[in-house]
């Protein structure tokens, strides 16, 4: 499957700073999902975006799907230590299959 490009690979922030990770595809995406994996844990579903230009919020997390449905972003406002982990996007690959991005590892320093 065609993998989505996810940037950055790593991000260190001070607690309270904002954080954004981006997923980019060369082809139009039918939908995109976001997952979070805590250190030592397994990926856990956060959200799915389906519509062009869609914006969804979960407390301090804001998820966006581009107008052309070729990119998506996850923005965290005022990071906390509980936000530490790796964030993955996943594109639909047909038949309920997902192709995941390479992930962005977030570290939050006090």
């Amino acid at each position: 499957g065609q993998q989505v490009m996810q940037i950055p690979q790593y991000q260190h922030v001070q607690e309270g700073e904002d954080f954004t990770t981006y997923c980019n595809s060369s082809t139009t995406l039918s939908n995109i999902q976001w997952y979070k994996q805590r250190p030592g844990g397994h990926p856990v579903f956060l959200i799915q975006l389906v519509k062009s230009g869609e914006v969804k919020k979960q407390k301090r997390l804001t998820f966006q799907f581009g107008e052309a449905k070729k990119n998506s972003s996850l923005h965290i406002t005022a990071t906390q230590t509980t936000d530490v982990g790796t964030y993955f996007c996943g594109r639909a690959g047909g038949g309920n299959k997902l192709t995941f991005g390479t992930g962005t590892q977030l570290k939050v320093e006090l």
């Binding site: 499957g1 993998q3 996810q6 690979q9 039918s30 939908n31 999902q33 997952y35 844990g41 397994h42 990926p43 856990v44 579903f45 799915q48 993955f88 996943g90 639909a92 038949g95 309920n96 299959k97 997902l98 192709t99 995941f100 991005g101 390479t102 992930g103």
Partner: protein, 115 residues
Amino acid sequence: DVKVTQSSRYLVKRTGEKVFLECVQDMDHENMFWYRQDPGLGLRLIYFSYDVKMKEKGDIPEGYSVSREKKERFSLILESASTNQTSMYLCASSAGLAGGTDTQYFGPGTRLTVL
């Protein structure tokens, strides 16, 4: 809550050994998946299954096979383990919604080391 369990959290095997990784889900999900996770490479799909006795290759099936004899159980088999198969292996399941891409639920992972 969906529960996906994997037979071992940590496993150490020798080169050439046959290795079985077991995954069980308790939510009557149609779809099951095996991924491997390596630093900088994200989650890569090895094999998946839509139904009992059905399997399809993912992106990196070489060196692996799978078995799904019962709906709740999906096994990953390394016929002859090699050192480059040292990795974290994650199993996942999803309900199998028609016409869409549904949420995947992951197991805790098996960290396999091949010596």
